[in-house]
Amino acid sequence: MRNLIALLAGGLFGAGLFTSGMTDTSKVQGWLDFFGAWDPTLAFVLSGAILPMAVAWRVAAKRKRAVLGNPLPATPNREISKELITGSALFGMGWGLAGLCPGPAIASLSYNGTGGIVFVIAMATGMLVARYVRPFEIVARLTGTGGKNEYQQG
């Protein structure tokens, strides 16, 4: 049953990315291009997506468990860490460079040609490397200040 819901959620996510035009890299780069031909579509996509999710978080706060019996996500960590900001900045650079982020990269894989496949392979490699290469832990170990592992699974 969890797999069926995951399949439906993935399908609906893909349909949403497809419908909103977010698999078109020129729309994403157009949104980021504040000094060129600015395209505000992404703001509409983000607000459309946030509305139902905001309701869902309120419902989740009143429940002990998810419908299928699993625990709901824990209260979020509030720490604005170096990893969070540096990682997001690196991610943003790549996002601007190609106009693709992980969801749309997979959603458009079937109609994005060879380039889409190259991007997804590079992205998966980057994800694999990130599990083992943790810059701030390396720096902390080298300087002897003690590292901290903020990575969570999933």
């Binding site: 990315l17 035009g21 395209d39 990682g87 997001s88 996002w95 106009g99």
Partner: protein, 147 residues
Amino acid sequence: MVFEFVETDWVFGFAGGLMIGLAGVLFLLWNGRILGASGVIGGLADGSGWDSSWSERASFILGLLVVPFALTFLWVRPDTHLTENWGILIAAGLLVGFGARMANGCTSGHGVCGISRLSLRGIAATVAYLLAGAVGVVLFRHILGVI
């Protein structure tokens, strides 16, 4: 500032956004999971998700692949305007994959799920990647002229 915007774009954008949000609602309220594309994919890419959650991850990715593929036959085949420069594709893919995992989330996890929960981390991450993305586009498009 020049606007490049077709009036129907915001309707499709908002409708598509609602679908993305509803997908997040399903995943959260039924499965108890935060819908984060980099988290779902990353767990399979780096091996950390090869546990009891692997089939849930694989099912999600299957839906994400198949539905847009079907829509290219049923509706339109969109032009994605993706660059054909392998150097850019590889550099961008590495940055996106590495950065999203380092930050523990991307546009869907920090952006959609984090902001809707008023999570401080989600909002900070979103501000950081939007700024970096805008700087990237200015740098690579307007200054270096490579994209």
